[in-house]
Symmetry: C2
Subunit: 374 residues, 2 copies
């Protein structure tokens, strides 16, 4: 298996990207194509202690998309950028997945352009994994589609459920809640548990998800609230990309606040310092759980391929961990599962439409451009 | 000053409500009217250790609105419910504020019906206070209005800014960021800092908030992201009630997860237990900060009065703390400040409309019923 990596994307590129990729290539037995300026990358590779495995190669790209750049414009003007070239390597079959810690909008746009949406998917979306009190939870969409219609959320439910099956063990020390043969549970993010609570989008989506559960790809829990994310009430939470992105970043912010307040408390006086020293081993598990938001990768679901999107601030540890997720996503054939599920649901809908003599009144057909990159 | 309290509302009513109210009456020198079933409440009061101050009285109400009850229906059918009677006491001038830990939708509806919206306010909304790395932050709307228009968010900015001035010292051990004479900063919750990032509502609101800052009631920071809430980047964050409620409950869920994971780590083995014991004093401050979400009260801003809405799970400590917030909100005349600010902004808008020869094209005028209670 080979992973194409946008080695120039992210706040700490290329140094941390290269370090993380080389470590992952060693430990996970994956081949890695580092995409970016050949001279720069070769220089970084030469500096790596313990040498670089043969499975790590460099693929030249002359341009870089900046973090603040408008994705649509970047796609037109920077066809030889590291993110576009890395995605193309995957699309042309030279790699099994692509990974970027650069501009999220650009990485999504490149994937949608080069890999194309899966037939029947209107809106590819970003799925992200949260640590919870129980097992990891998939939230979708985490920011690819800021204004959604009910049918988009219904696609997210099917795609998120497929991904939930694939993330077994992605959080160190934790098992996934969805074992082989189990059906993932899906919750609709709202502001009250009862049907009828929520905004217009949620109210209309409620019924659609209920019907969608008839496909057998997920069981429908109904509405969930914000606190159910940390509690791990369900395996998958669906929401529009605006709400999902706000939730992701809110949780990230509070995780940072908690750990920094804790650190402060630990360094207060001698007594506290000794206490903290004694607690160190016990706190390791706690920390690795809380830290997850920072070192996990998100995945763009709904395209013909595997596209992993990392946080802009990713360090070597994040990249290392994200490559592991990329490998698991390829191996568990999430893309194939989504393709099959979407085709089956589509066929069932068409059959029922034909039986009722009605057509698809929701209009537009395929509309695959994310309305904004977060 | 007298506070009318819905003594029958909340998961732990009336016992915890009565206990918290009596303690607050003792410590804060406020008079308290406990509203609910006279016999039940008298029995609880008799059981209180150390006796009950004369400033605590009981006001009979024969009905109770249940937590799951539809607010609109409850307003029609339960005119003698504790929440309606308590609100009426305030509206008729027998109390300076009203407080409920019961059904949020019912408490909001009762306040809007009995107190009426302030002239010029289309949508009263719920403001809630978050602990941050810096000073406490006001988020509005936390759930009263699930589907909002830009002008509603622009009202939230003015109202939230007025409240930010009033909450000095509400989080134990913390100063508020907005001292007398300072202008609160307002951020618009979105998924990217740049203007143009966000959903349709946010994009249109951006300009409106910028113009609104001309009033001098707040300074406009621009877009903020979810993580800026915990970081305390601004004094006030505005968003629609759906997003605000999801954010509030997400933060609440993660706070619970963090503290329970921490507790688990502390009770691991003997070594950890000793460490935890040594750290206990240092962790007190950390805990009181994290716990805040549970014991703080939210306030419904934009009505002619002070209406404090507490979490359904409120215990005596939460009620005690919420009564302190009620007192501060009355003393700092938040309602008067909002009334003045809204009138001034309205007059300025009318003057500029007259000068331009245009009318208000946003339509509808006053529409004060919250679209759903969270």
């Amino acid at each position: 298996m080979r992973i194409a990596i946008d080695a120039m994307g992210g706040d700490r590129a290329p140094a941390e990207i290269v370090e993380g990729a080389v470590a992952a290539a060693r430990d996970f037995r994956v081949a890695v194509s580092l995409v970016g300026d050949k001279d720069t990358l070769s220089k970084y590779l030469q500096g790596i202690e313990g040498g670089v495995p043969d499975s790590v190669t460099v693929h030249h790209a002359s341009q870089v998309v900046d973090m603040g750049e408008a994705p649509a414009l970047a796609m037109r003007k920077k066809r030889d950028s590291s993110v576009v070239v890395a995605t193309r390597l995957h699309a042309e079959g030279h790699a099994d997945a692509v990974l970027s810690a650069g501009n999220t909008g650009a990485a999504s746009a490149a994937a949608i352009l080069a890999l194309r949406p899966i037939a029947g998917v209107d809106r590819p979306g970003i799925a992200t994994v949260f640590p919870t009190q129980k097992s990891p939870l998939v939230l979708m969409d985490a920011g690819a589609n800021v204004d959604c219609r009910p049918r988009h959320l219904s696609e997210f439910a099917i795609m998120g459920a497929a991904y939930a099956r694939a993330i077994h063990g992605v959080i160190p020390g934790e098992k996934s809640g969805v074992a082989a043969g189990q059906v993932p549970s899906v919750g609709l993010l709202s502001i009250g548990e009862e049907e009828g609570k929520g905004n217009e989008l949620v109210k209309t989506t409620y019924k659609l998800l209920h019907e969608g559960a008839g496909s057998g790809f997920y069981s429908y829990f109904g509405n969930v609230e914000g606190r159910d994310i940390a509690f791990g009430t369900v395996d998958v939470v669906v929401c529009d990309g605006f709400v999902g992105n706000v939730v992701l970043k809110t949780a990230e912010g509070f995780a940072k606040m908690f750990t920094s307040s804790l650190k402060e408390a630990f360094l207060g006086d001698l007594r506290s310092k000794i206490g903290a020293m004694l607690l160190k081993p016990a706190l390791q598990k706690f920390r690795s759980k809380i830290d997850y938001a920072e070192y996990g990768g998100a995945v763009l679901l709904g395209v013909n391929g595997v596209c992993i999107i990392c946080h802009g601030s990713s360090d070597r540890r994040s990249i290392y961990s994200a490559i592991r997720i990329a490998k698991q996503t390829v191996e568990s054939d999430v893309t194939g599962m989504i393709r099959g599920a979407i085709a089956q649901v589509r066929a069932a809908n068409e059959a029922s439409d034909a039986a009722l003599g009605t057509g698809d009144s929701s209009g537009s057909g395929t509309d695959s451009t994310p309305s904004s990159g977060a």
